[in-house]
Symmetry: C2
Subunit: 335 residues, 2 copies
C-alpha cells in the first residue's frame, strides 16, 4: 500500500516509546540518537524483563501538563536545530498521545511521526447517485501551500483529530471549512467505520486510523472551499475515481478511505477484484498489536514471580526435608 | 468474540497442513493423532528447514481429483468410527481447499474445521428504513433440525460457499431458498465487503470469511422460507437487534456480520462505542497471516542457500589462497 517506503520497517530498528509504563509509540534509531541528548527527559535503556531496548519519558514528571511541557521543550529545541524535516511542518496544533484508555500528554502534530504515535483523523466521502453516470465521488485537490501533500488529490473533506475536538465534531467543522457544506446537508452524515494502516515516509511513522463518514449530496450541490486549503473540487464517476487513486497525484494516506468506500458501496466486489479479502484485511491492520509492551512486560513479570515462588516453595521443601532429616531428634526431644 | 471457547488456541498445539507445499490449513493434536493411522495419505513430520512439525498430504497424489478421493476415504473411515463429532454432520456438500491462488482439493464441509481450512460464506443483511422505528433488520430463526446451530437466531440469509458456486450466485440462491426473495428485489443486492474472524469450538477451528451483502427491502415485504431450514423471521429495530446479538440465542459466528452492518450504517459509532476501532480491527482479523508456512520456508531456504554460497565462496577463497601459496611455482613452471 505505501507508495513511498524509504526504508523497510524492520523490527529491530524500532523501540517502544513508554509513558507512565504504557506504550504509546514506536521510535526509530535516528530519533533515538537525538533523544539521547536529553537524558533528563528521555531515558533510553533495556527493559530488565523484556530485555528489549525502550525509550521512556521520565516517570518523575507529575502529570499531563508537565509531560506535555517537557516534551515540547525538546521538540522546539530539535526544531530550532533543523534536524528533522517533520518538525519544519510545525503547526501549533496538538494531537493527544494516548494509551488504550487515557491521554498522557499532547504533542505538536508535526512531531507525532517521530514518536510513532497513533494518529486519528476523520474523512468524509461526499458522493452522488447520478442518474446516468451512477455512483460519483467528490474529490478535493489540496492547496499548493499545504504543509503536507501539497497539490495532491484527496477525499472531499478530511482532517486530523486535534486536542479538544470530538470525532463527529471534527467532521462537521472540516465539512464547513473545507467544502462549505451547510448544516442542513451535514446532518445526513453517516458514520461508516474506520480504516487503519501503517505508512512510513522520510517524515517518520504513521500508524493511522481514519474515522470515515459518508455523505450523499444533492446532484446540484457544489463544494466551495472556505479556508484556503483546497484549490479545486471535482466530481468523478467511480471508475475514474479508482484510476485517480492509483496515480502519484493522489495523497497516499487517503487511498484506503476511497477504496473502503468503493468496497462498502458495491463498486469493488469479490467478483471484480481477485484480492478482495486481502485488501479488506489490509484496510484494517491490527495496529493495536504494535503497542503491546505493557502486556508483554506483565506476562514476563508474572512468569518471573511464578518461577520465584516455585523456587521458594522448592527451597522451602528442601529446608523441610533437611529439617525432617536432621532435626527429628530435636523435635522428639522438644516433644 | 467467541462465546464458546473450549480450550485456548495455543500456538504449539497446532501444525500447518500442507498440500503441494502450500499451507491450506491448521491441524490440532487430537486430529494429528488420528491422521497418524493413515501414513500412506498423511505424512506427519518435522520440516527440515523450519524445524516445525507439519502435516502433509502425500505429494505423490497426482491431481485435484486424486487428492480429493484419498482425503475422502480417510474422512469416511473416521466418520464410520465415530471419532469426531464434526463428521457426524456430514453433508455431502463440498468446500474448496485452496491456497492463495488455486484450488487443491475439495472436502466435505463437515470436515473443514478438523483441518482448519479457511471457510468462506455469504450473508445478506436484509433491512428496512422504517418511518417511525428507523433502521430495522430482518433476522431468521434457524430450524431446530439444522445440523449446526439449530434454533439459533441468525442473519436474514446466509450460507457457505460450496464448490461450483460463485459468491454473488450463492447469495442469490440462498436468498431464494431461505427467504423467497424475488428477483426484482434481489437485483438491489449491494456487495459491502467481508468480515473475517477465528472461532474455535469442540467441532474444530473456524477461520471464517463472510462476504457480506446489504439488501434494502420494501416496508411491506415479509420473507418466507422455502427450504425448511428456517422456522421464523422477525423484523427488529436496530436497538433490539443489538440486544438479540448479545444473547446466547444468536449464532455466534453470525454476530460479526450484524455488528459490521450496524457500524457501516451509522448505528454503532465512535461516539457511542468506546471500543469502536478495536471492534473494527477484530471484524477483519488478518487470517492470511496464519497460512504463511510456504513463505517462511522459502525465506529459510534462501537464507540457507546464501549461507552455503558464502561458505562456498569462503572455501573458494581459501582454496585460492592455498593455491596462491602452494602452487605458484607450478604455475610458473607451467608458464
Amino acid at each position: 500500500m505505501p507508495k513511498k517506503l524509504t526504508k523497510g520497517f524492520q523490527k529491530g530498528d524500532i523501540r517502544p516509546f513508554l509513558v507512565e509504563g504504557e506504550q504509546v509509540g514506536l521510535v526509530k534509531a535516528d530519533v533515538i540518537k537525538q533523544l539521547q541528548r536529553y537524558p533528563e527527559i528521555f531515558c533510553i535503556r533495556n527493559c530488565e524483563f523484556t530485555k528489549q531496548g525502550i525509550v521512556e519519558l521520565n516517570p518523575a514528571f507529575r502529570d499531563y501538563a508537565e509531560r506535555t511541557k517537557q516534551v515540547d521543550i525538546v521538540l522546539r529545541d530539535l526544531r530550532s536545530k533543523g534536524i528533522f524535516s517533520a518538525l519544519q511542518g510545525w503547526r501549533d496544533e496538538y494531537y493527544e498521545v494516548k494509551s488504550e484508555y487515557r491521554s498522557l500528554l499532547k504533542m505538536d502534530r508535526s512531531a507525532t511521526p517521530l514518536f510513532g504515535v497513533r494518529k486519528y483523523g476523520v474523512d468524509i466521502n461526499g458522493y452522488v447517485q447520478h442518474p446516468t453516470q451512477g455512483l460519483c465521488i467528490w474529490l478535493q485537490q489540496r492547496s499548493n501551500t499545504k504543509e503536507t501533500w501539497p497539490g495532491k488529490w484527496d477525499n472531499m473533506v478530511g482532517g486530523g483529530l486535534s486536542v479538544g475536538y470530538g470525532i463527529k465534531e471534527t467532521a462537521i467543522k472540516e465539512a464547513a471549512e473545507e467544502a462549505s457544506i451547510p448544516s442542513d446537508l451535514v446532518k445526513n452524515l453517516v458514520s461508516a467505520g474506520c480504516v487503519s494502516f501503517f505508512f512510513e515516509s522520510e517524515q517518520g511513522l504513521f500508524p493511522n486510523t481514519e474515522y470515515v463518514f459518508d455523505l450523499e449530496l444533492p446532484l446540484d450541490f457544489v463544494p466551495q472551499n472556505a479556508d484556503g486549503e483546497v484549490q479545486a473540487f471535482e466530481l468523478l464517476p467511480a471508475k475514474e475515481c479508482v484510476e485517480r487513486v492509483f496515480t502519484p497525484d493522489f495523497k497516499t494516506t487517503s487511498c484506503p478511505v476511497v477504496i473502503d468506500f468503493l468496497i462498502r458501496h458495491g463498486y469493488i466486489t469479490p467478483e471484480n477484484e481477485v484480492h478482495f479479502t486481502q485488501i479488506i484485511e489490509l484496510l484494517h491492520v491490527p495496529l493495536q498489536s504494535l503497542y503491546t509492551y505493557k502486556s508483554v512486560l506483565e506476562q514476563k513479570q508474572k512468569l518471573k514471580q511464578q518461577n520465584q515462588s516455585q523456587q521458594q516453595s522448592h527451597l522451602a521443601n528442601n529446608i523441610k526435608t533437611i529439617e525432617n532429616g536432621h532435626n527429628n531428634k530435636d523435635a522428639t526431644i522438644n516433644n
